[in-house]
Each structure stands twice: as structure tokens, then as C-alpha cells.
């Protein structure tokens, strides 16, 4: 294993760790705001680390720039959707945005 492969492996593992934490938070946290908090923070960092790991692995600046774009778009989509969900949750006044039937 070369040094760059080792670095990529490290980045990918770290990224997976953050994704795992974010998902656990999504499943375990009590209300919409806490869940969003877990998702947006942990997953954005996880996506960043995984993109960085793949960029190192590819060793190609074109692929790396496409991965960077993917991360930026992911950030953008996460920001806006988290904002919309939080806004909706606050307007609903409930601490749980699940529909009533989802017990």
C-alpha cells in the first residue's frame, strides 16, 4: 500500500465514521431540530472526507474537481433542505415533524 492509498483509506474510514454518527443521531435524537443538527453537521463533514479520500485515490485533478463540486452541491442542498425542514417544524409548532400516523 502506497502512502496515498493509506491516506485515502484513512479519509474514507473517517468519513464513514462521521456518516455513522450522523445516522445514529438521525435515528436516536428526540426531535426534528436535534436530528437536523446531527444530519447536517456530521454528514457534510463525512461527505467532505469521503470526497477527499476518493480524490486522493483517483490522483487526477479533473476527477478531484468534480468531487469538490459534488461536495459543494451536497452542502448547498443540505443547507436549504435543513432550513426548510426546520422552518416547517417551527411553524407546525410541534417538536416532531413526522405525520401524525407515524407513531
Amino acid at each position: 500500500m502506497t502512502a496515498s492509498e493509506g491516506l485515502a483509506l484513512l479519509l474514507l474510514l473517517a468519513g464513514s465514521g462521521f456518516y455513522f454518527a450522523g445516522t445514529v443521531g438521525l435515528l436516536r435524537f428526540p426531535d426534528a431540530f436535534c436530528r437536523l443538527h446531527a444530519l447536517t453537521k456530521a454528514d457534510n463533514l463525512g461527505l467532505c472526507l469521503i470526497c477527499a479520500g476518493l480524490a486522493v485515490l483517483s490522483a487526477d485533478w479533473r476527477i478531484a474537481s468534480v468531487l469538490f463540486l459534488i461536495w459543494l452541491l451536497g452542502l448547498l442542498a443540505a443547507t436549504v433542505s435543513a432550513h426548510l425542514i426546520a422552518r416547517q417544524a417551527r411553524q407546525a409548532g410541534a417538536d416532531n415533524i413526522d405525520p401524525p400516523e407515524a407513531s
Partner: protein, 313 residues
Amino acid sequence: MLGIVLDLVIIASLIALAIQVVSGASLFRGIIHFIVMGLTLALAWARLGAPDLAMAEAAIGAGVTGALMMVAYRRLVEITPDHNPSRTGSRSRLALPIAVGAGGLVGLLGLGATLSDPEPGLAGLAVLEALQDEALGNPITGVLLLYRGLDTLLEIAVLLTAFLAAVAVTRREDLDYSITTRDPHTPLVGALLAIIVPLTVLVSVHLLKAGSHDPGGAFQAGAVLAACGVLLVLTSRVSASSQSRPLIGLGIVAGLISFSLIGLAAMLRGEPPMALPGMWAVYFIETAMMLSIALTLVLLFAGTESLRRNQHG
């Protein structure tokens, strides 16, 4: 070795998600699980060496189907807010044996075909050999347009028929059912659209162009464009309208008409029907099909026959 583990994880997730979808406690969660299952299936396609299918599955199978189910669910909930259907209907004793038998039949068929017939498909072999001389580097686009052109044409016809039928059974007075956010002036949404919409158009044109030699093509491009349209409907930049517009009608039938006309024109030149005169025809038909697919899917999502543009965009 790692590949097999990955396959097993994907397959286990698929089966667990399928069980959740059919037996989950609530309909809403069923839809969510269905979408996740579609995305997992996209991974399975990638593992099976089918990137074209992976893209189509993620965009159409998971994205568009999920969005359509969400809209239908929302309409049910708007009629009865506490719409909470019972999980199961008939508690048939035969259900399990029938399901096991059906699954077993599929498994036997598949295993029989995999284990006993290692010969590659003759049609595929012929396609790959014939396409050596063509400018089409993506054999799937080649099959869709050059060899099974009639199938692809009829598929567009099925999409159009489904759309017309769906519009016919949708009640007129329900066309204005809002599936949009109640407050269209939410901050950040405008900024998101300003970036996402041009990018989506760019990506779909790229997919269309790439489809001639790399994974991609009219279906994937149309699905991406449709996703853009769904976003515009969701943010009420465009909304349902019962007033028919010629341009929209033309867009819906563009794929069918151009494919049919170019395919029939081959007969005038004394060639078999559906024989395409050249690469320009491939690009032309693919573009028209992309527009038709995208427009039809968006209209199906909006549950309407026409769209109008809202001014506050």
C-alpha cells in the same frame, strides 16, 4: 472477497427494505423505505455492471416514483387528515405458500439460466459486433435506438398514454390542489434554484450527449430534467393549470412524433421502418425524447395537463 461482502450487504439491505415497505407500520414510512430501496437498487445496478440502469433507477425508480407516491399520499391525507390504513387486509393462509412458491419459481428460473447456460446472449454479441462500426459507443443507446427502435417508440407511447389516462381520471376541480410550499417566499429557496436549475439543465444536456458513447442517454437526461421541473413545481415557481398551452402539448408529443416520422421516412427511402438515417437523427430523437419524458413526468407529478409560470419567482 470484499466485492462479495459488498454484494451481500446490498442484497440484505434490499430484502430488509422490501419487507419494511410491504409490512411497515405507516404508509408514509412505506414511501420513504421505497425510495431508499430504489437508491439501494441503484447500487446493485452499479455492482452488476450497469451504470445506465443505476442512473435511471436513482432518478426515475427512486426519485420520480417516490415523488409521485408522496403527492398521492398527500392528496389522501388532505381528504382524511388522520388517514391511517390498517396494515393488512385479508389474512389469507395461502399468502405465505404462494409467495414462497412464486419466489422459488423465479429463483429456479434464474439459477437454471445462470448455471446451465454460460453462453453469452447471441443478440448482445451481434449488437456489440455491429456497433464496432457505428459512431455509437454506448451499446445500450445503440440497442434502444438502432435495434429495438420500435420498443423504444412504443415505450414513449406508453408514457404518453399513461399521462393521458392519469389526466382523464383526475378530477378537474382538484387540479389546483396545492402540492407546493404554502409560503413561496422562503429565504434560500430562490438562491438554491438560481444555482440548481441551470446546473440541472447542463447535467441533462451532458448526459444526453454522453449517452452516445458513455453511460447516459435520453431516459437519464429526461429524468434529471424532470427532477428540475419537480423542484420548480414544489417551490411553486410553476404551478398546475387547466388552460392548455400549445407549446406544452407539442413538448409532450415531441419524442413520439419525431421518432415516428424519422422512422417512417426510412420506408420512403426503401429501407426497413425505424432505420435511422444517421447520427443527426439519433441526436435529434434523443433530444426530443428527453424533452417529452421530462415534461410528461413533471405533468404527472403536478397531476395536471398544463403548467403556468408564477410571477413571484
